[in-house]
Symmetry: none
Subunit: 230 residues, 4 copies
């Protein structure tokens, strides 16, 4: 069918252009190649850390030449920073939704904390945190960026939620900033730290996460909950 066929082609072309078609060449601007490099870098950095990772390894793993990497990223540090930014975004995305869904305060906090700790203790996230920490002496802004947009943003979401629930009379929290940090520390802090130090070789089991989160939420509500929290 000619007409449709024509439309199909137009559509395809439009999509390609929208996708920044792989054949369009602008130095250091091809997003596919950029992701390819970041993927290779991720595999190498996650395995051995920043210092022990060599640009040669990344070259091999990413399947691009060394020169190409330097077109997209000015230095090893810049490449690392871009990688961390990308990963951090993925880690902490879509946490907010869990606070919007219906349910009691206990249910909501449990749901939120469970998702948070599951992510924070996943293998790649643990490795990412290790790396960021490992270089934070030399690249301090990287640690800040990771922390601010990561744990801190999670706490920001919580604070807003606490404000809301305090107004509704379901919680009674004098300082929501402190409270959100406490919930974070209680539920996610310990397991994350255990993973980061390598004490837990694998991510914690669902049961362990549940136990930890439940204990944490118990304690949190014992302190801040009103009789209507459950």
């Amino acid at each position: 069918m000619p007409a449709l066929s024509k439309n199909d082609q137009s559509l395809k072309k439009a999509v390609e252009v929208a996708d920044a078609a792989p054949n369009r060449r602008v130095a250091g601007q091809d997003p596919v190649k950029r992701q390819q490099i970041l993927d290779g870098a991720k595999r190498v950095f996650l395995c051995v850390g920043f210092d022990a990772a060599s640009m040669n390894d990344i070259t091999r793993e990413a399947g691009v030449s060394k020169g190409t990497i330097y077109v997209y990223f000015g230095s090893k540090e810049e490449l690392f920073g871009a990688l961390i930014d990308r990963e951090r975004t993925a880690i902490f995305s879509s946490l907010a939704e869990t606070l919007e869904e219906e349910g009691s305060v206990r249910e909501t906090l449990t749901r939120f904390a469970t998702l948070l700790v599951t992510r924070m203790t996943s293998v790649p996230v643990v490795r990412a945190q290790r790396m960021v920490i490992g270089v934070s002496e030399r690249m301090p802004e990287l640690g800040c960026r990771f922390y601010d947009a990561g744990p801190d943003s999670a706490k920001g979401l919580l604070s807003a939620y606490f404000d809301r629930k305090t107004k509704e009379g379901l919680l009674d929290i004098p300082d929501t900033a402190i409270a959100s940090r406490q919930l974070f520390d209680l539920c996610a802090g310990g397991l994350t730290r255990a993973c980061i130090f390598g004490v837990l070789e694998a991510p914690p089991s669902e049961a362990l996460i549940a136990e930890t989160v439940d204990s944490g939420v118990d304690m949190f509500l014992a302190r801040y909950g009103t009789h209507r929290a459950d």
Copy 2:
């Protein structure tokens, strides 16, 4: 000339013995030299981190030769591990005493937690943690050793204290292992993490520590305290 010759030899030996201090020298067994090497290594590692520290720097700082270091420590990694073991011991020493001193449960926990977080967030300890984490991908057992004998041992002390106070009726804790981890996370976890990521450029102020610890102990006692806890 016999007499003179004998004197010469005696003199020489005496000098050697004097030089050798009271210790018998067996390869890699002189504890003074071992400490000397570790002291030098500490200065260098803390300043620049594991990867950036060169054995030449350590050699210079320790005042011993390269070969000697390799007699005492088989590799750079082994040296680093030995250093971390020594430092960890120092960091968590004498915490137990704070639980033995008199005072209410609240006072005791506040005292313990304040000392703990002060140590955990001191500059050298933060650096040590960063380094351990940074290399834990390559040296996994190092992180475990640090964690087990560090945070975990602190929790062990707490658990024993909680058992005692639960028996005395001052606390009501169903699972003291969980409770000790919770207290640790509430009081020390957040500030330590902030330091490790470099968000806090300097150790937290006494006021911030006090606020954090007080909030944590408040919450802890809201959950586990009996009417007799204060």
Copy 3:
């Protein structure tokens, strides 16, 4: 079919010609583009020298693409050689005229030598000489070309002038080739060498040039001048 085919070809050619602006485009034959490349190369080479100049810099400075440069010049070395040839021509052009103008032998030689040494010691010419010398181990023919068409051609002009003046009885020169080299060395050699070695950071002042040239011409005429030379 001939007719149609012919038309097709004509059409195609017409389009090509239209596209190609007034110049016929044959690979590497557009003299304007060639000069454009050489101009860019000159700026870069003079600034940083042969080895430190990157083809990327030249590309940027010349405003043409990398591939285009390689169409016009087979390699970096070839490009450099072409540049030097062009510059050399400019450096030693219009020297001949100074020998044609009227004036005594002393005046003429002084005029000629002053112009010569001024040019030889100008910043770009000094840099060009340095570069040629610096690569002459790797590109021996380049040095020859520069020398033959440069200093040597100047000497050629002088020789002819000496022949003329000897016939006129104003000079008495048994070997004009030797004499022209001597005048060159006396007047231009020393200052040029000082500039090339960097002992003179800037080109010599007019006064220094005058002094040098005057001393040189003095000596020259003391040897070769007749009583009628002045």
Copy 4:
């Protein structure tokens, strides 16, 4: 026999110390190894110039490891500078003596200039000059050092000689600094420049040197000689 045996050993030790025995190890202080490195560097630098010479090539040519080179010389530039200093010293040594020997002014100047030009146009000296010139844009002090201690020192010797002979009435030179530069330029300048540019592929023949020097001295004495100069 004890006594003799003892003497033998002492003697051996003394000799070792005097020779700076190859086995005496002080980092970067073994003069034999230092010369070995310089010899290797000389071969490589002279062949391809500064930029094109790679430290790996020098490593191979010198028969020492890369690390060792960097113990003796902090960088490629420092190594190059040391090499040039060594060569320059050798080039211009023992020129002074030729001015002390007996003979007429003409004979003395001819002797001095012949030796000077022979050295300046020898293959290694030509190559050394090329290298120094090639890098003088980036290492200006190197060119100065070479020039000052080289050509300039030769001119210094000449000036002193001219002063002496002027006092003796054999020469009549108003400005001996200018005169010495003139003699240098007349006799050595042209041939040296021809060699440096590669126009003369091999050092000039003895005949060519003699012709050049004779013409130069002729002219020099025509200008500055008194009737008693020969």
